[in-house]
């Protein structure tokens, strides 16, 4: 294998590992803020409920801290990878990518990393109000971080506001760069993906705690919050995804053609539900199709003409990984919607029978939720592959080709570090999941009565 393939594998490994943790952190912090506010609202009026919300807050703070640490260290790795493996990217697109990354570090990264210390360890050292503010600051920081990173990523998908001078990209309009054509859709889609990831993580782990009889009053409240959040976010995500798709069709038609497996330009294109993309023969084998549906979904017009892969010789992405990732993502999305709505309907139906401190769910529902603990991770990864592999063979769509920007290191050197990263990432992933399960286990004895904002 050559350095290009190995560098791409290495980057894919790094970004796949990294994305798992922001996917949790972006939304989890808002969940934490919600738990924290519920605690404050109940304090004084209903001490039992206040303590329950506090239990939820502290369990999930621990998980947030752990995810944050993994996100930080893998994020540092990403920032070095640009230089070690893709020096051409920064040399040619650095004038635009640099400031966007810089604003992320300056406005977001320091904010979250600094106030995280106060949020985690400030109890007893700062007032209730400052502690609440620290939680808010971290939540804003993670979301702002997502804003800048997705702005850069979207700009690489739909570049705007620049001119080429001597092979280098120069900024002409920063507003067009930051708010590039695909940015609003990608931001909405990613924030909702994070919400769903966290909702199913919280619901799944809580369900698992109840099944293992290690639940406390906070577990049930966290579970209800998560199921309702998922029920709201899932349909919104489908709308956002559809709009994102329309935008992609307009700006990256080759990506859509690969997603749908449309090999030749046609009118009233059928939707391929399943099949086996055969790139050599230029067709999808064993395809199960619905006539005209692709045109209807993608262009909202049953007679619309869709461009096929034949229009993009040497400039379209590999079909199979994009095709399959997309189907995995959509399938998981539908499953999430059904699960969340079933759960919410159960909550609604039994709202008078069961108090807030008890779970109204059947064992089957709990098992389903527990099984879907990491469904958000899978869907996020699949979506990420659709959008990132779908951009190939370009790094900056239509402008800079990936193959032209890679560093020419000896392949064995890239291979050795790739293996080292893979080993470390695999071990950490196993450790992370095991520690999650461990933390969701039986509670430890001796809990102090009030924790948030207690003064010594």
């Amino acid at each position: 294998m050559d350095a290009l393939v190995l560098s791409r594998m290495q980057f894919a490994a790094n970004i796949s590992f990294h994305i798992l943790f922001p996917a949790i952190n972006i939304a989890l912090c808002w969940f934490l803020l919600f738990f924290r506010l519920r605690h404050s609202a109940h304090k004084g009026r209903d001490p039992v409920a206040a303590q329950a919300w506090e239990q939820a807050y502290y369990l999930w703070t621990k998980i947030f801290a752990l995810s944050f640490a993994l996100g930080v260290v893998s994020g540092i790795t990403m920032s070095f990878q640009f230089g070690t493996n893709w020096p051409g990217y920064m040399e040619r697109a650095g004038n635009i990518a640099g400031p966007l990354l810089g604003y992320e570090v300056l406005t977001a990264f320091f904010l979250e990393a600094t106030f995280l210390g106060v949020m985690l360890f400030g109890r007893g050292r700062v007032s209730d109000r400052v502690h609440l503010f620290a939680t808010l600051a971290v939540a804003c920081g993670t979301t702002l971080s997502a804003f800048w990173i997705l702005s850069l990523n979207s700009w690489m998908q739909t570049p705007a506001g620049f001119e080429m001078i001597d092979g280098k990209m120069h900024a002409t309009n920063w507003l067009q760069i930051v708010f590039n054509p695909s940015f609003p859709y990608r931001l909405a889609h990613t924030l909702l993906a994070s919400t769903l990831t966290v909702a199913f993580l919280v619901a799944g782990l809580s369900a698992w705690q109840i099944l293992r009889k290690s639940a406390n009053a906070g577990t049930h409240r966290a579970l209800r919050t998560a199921v309702i959040a998922a029920a709201i976010a899932a349909p919104l995500q489908m709308i956002a995804g559809d709009m994102h798709g329309l935008n992609t069709l307009q700006h990256q038609p080759a990506k859509i053609a690969a997603i749908e497996g449309i090999w030749h330009t046609e009118k009233s294109a059928p939707l391929t539900l399943f099949g086996w993309p055969n790139e050599k023969a230029g067709r999808t084998d064993y395809a199960v199709t619905v006539p005209k549906l692709a045109s209807l979904i993608l262009a909202h017009d049953i007679n619309a003409e869709l461009k096929g892969l034949n229009e993009f010789p040497n400039a379209h992405p590999p079909v199979a990984p994009v095709f399959w990732s997309f189907r995995l993502m959509v399938g998981l999305g539908v499953l999430m919607l059904l699960t969340a709505w079933w759960g919410t309907w159960t909550l609604w139906r039994r709202r008078r029978q069961v108090s807030a401190a008890l779970a109204p769910f059947s064992r089957w529902q709990l098992r389903l939720l527990a099984a879907m603990t990491f469904s958000g991770w899978l869907a996020t990864l699949a979506g990420w592959y659709v959008t990132e592999i779908g951009r190939q063979p370009f790094l900056v769509y239509g402008v800079l080709r990936t193959a032209d920007l890679v560093a020419d290191h000896p392949p064995q050197m890239v291979l050795s570090t790739l293996i080292a990263y893979l080993v470390v990432y695999a071990l950490l992933l196993v450790a992370y999941v095991r520690v999650l399960m461990h933390m969701a286990g039986p509670p430890k004895p001796a809990a102090p009565a009030t924790l948030i904002g207690a003064t010594p």
Binding site: G83, P87, V105, T114, G117
Partner: protein, 333 residues
């Protein structure tokens, strides 16, 4: 000088400050990691608790340093990181292991805690050695000659001693009783290796690079530069004086050890900056040659000018919140 020429210099300074802040701040928590194996289990918890609220923010300075390199000097970014491919990868793996071990050790089952402690120390050592190697090869302009490699290896082996000194100084400030006395003893152990190493590096640098030799040992500037070695000597003397007499530490002057070590780091940094200026890749690329487009520098300069003071303010706020002796690390039920 025009604004066009000054702006790259400002970014050079910002990058230097970020890296200096990183070396000092992450330096002490890497140092604590290096000293961890020599403490008892209960002391380990206190040591980790003393850096708990800070390490995330400390590592962010590294991201800012590399970020500025990438934002302001994209040409140099590729050359530097390309030449340092392997040590960067080694450092990253060290930092990854260390960072996550820190969080895992608090949450893991008791039988796993020992393993995470070990990973924390090994990660700290690996990161410190790799950073030393990176610094060494940077100063020699990424030369692959035998002499340069020996020089890089020399720094790789000595940077951990300097970090351990910072870590010991930090623990002297943040702890008490038996652990504080232990930290004083650790400081006594590492001060000599660190001094010898710094002296060696200071003498070897001009020998490895003739340009640096001329910069230092020409006549008028030699006198102007004298404050740098002299204040280093003074800082060494102060540190030595305090750690040789534990009752001075007991009297509340333990912070002198940390303060003086930081002073030595700052002086070494100034000396290095003087040696390298105006190059960003020694003998190959000056600050101006490597700078990105002016309009991009302006955009990010606005951001730096607004946010850097704010960052410094809330960093100080956080250090005030966690001022004084480290407390037990607990944020769970």
């Amino acid at each position: 000088m025009t604004w066009n020429e000054i702006l790259p210099l400002i970014f050079m300074a910002v990058m230097g400050l970020a890296l200096l802040a990183y070396v000092i701040l992450d330096g002490y928590d890497l140092g604590v990691g290096l000293l961890l194996p020599f403490a008892t289990d209960a002391e380990k918890d206190v040591m980790v608790a003393s850096i708990g609220p800070f390490w995330d923010a400390n590592e962010t300075w590294l991201v800012l340093g590399v970020g500025v390199l990438l934002i302001a000097f994209p040409q140099a970014h590729g050359i530097v990181l390309g030449a340092l491919y392997l040590p960067v990868a080694v450092m990253l793996i060290g930092l990854i292991l260390r960072g996550v071990a820190f969080d895992f050790r608090v949450k893991a089952r008791d039988e796993h805690k020992r393993l995470w402690n070990r990973i924390f120390s090994i990660g700290s050592l690996v990161a410190a050695v790799a950073q030393g190697w990176m610094l060494g090869s940077y100063i020699t302009g990424f030369d692959r000659g035998a002499l340069s490699l020996v020089f890089a290896a020399g720094i790789a082996l000595t940077l951990p001693a300097a970090y351990a000194m910072l870590g010991a100084g930090w623990l002297i400030m943040k702890t008490g009783d038996a652990l504080q006395l232990k930290a004083v003893a650790w400081a006594r152990r590492v001060i000599l290796p660190m001094g010898v190493a710094l002296l060696g590096i200071s003498l070897a640098t001009p020998l490895v690079s003739p340009e640096i030799f001329d910069k230092w040992f020409g006549l008028p500037q030699l006198f102007a530069l004298l404050p740098i070695p002299l204040s280093c000597l003074a800082a060494f003397w102060a540190t030595w004086h305090v750690i040789a007499r534990p009752r001075i530490v007991a009297a509340g002057y333990g912070w002198v050890v940390f303060g003086s070590t930081v002073g030595i780091f700052i002086m070494a940094f100034l000396g290095l900056a003087y040696s390298i200026y105006p190059f960003i890749v020694l003998d190959r690329l000056t600050v101006w040659q490597a700078a990105s487009a002016h309009e991009s520098l302006v955009v990010i300069f606005i951001g730096v000018a607004i946010t850097l003071p704010v960052i410094i303010v809330y960093t100080i706020f956080m250090y005030r919140v966690f001022w004084g002796r480290a407390r037990e690390l607990s944020y769970g039920l």
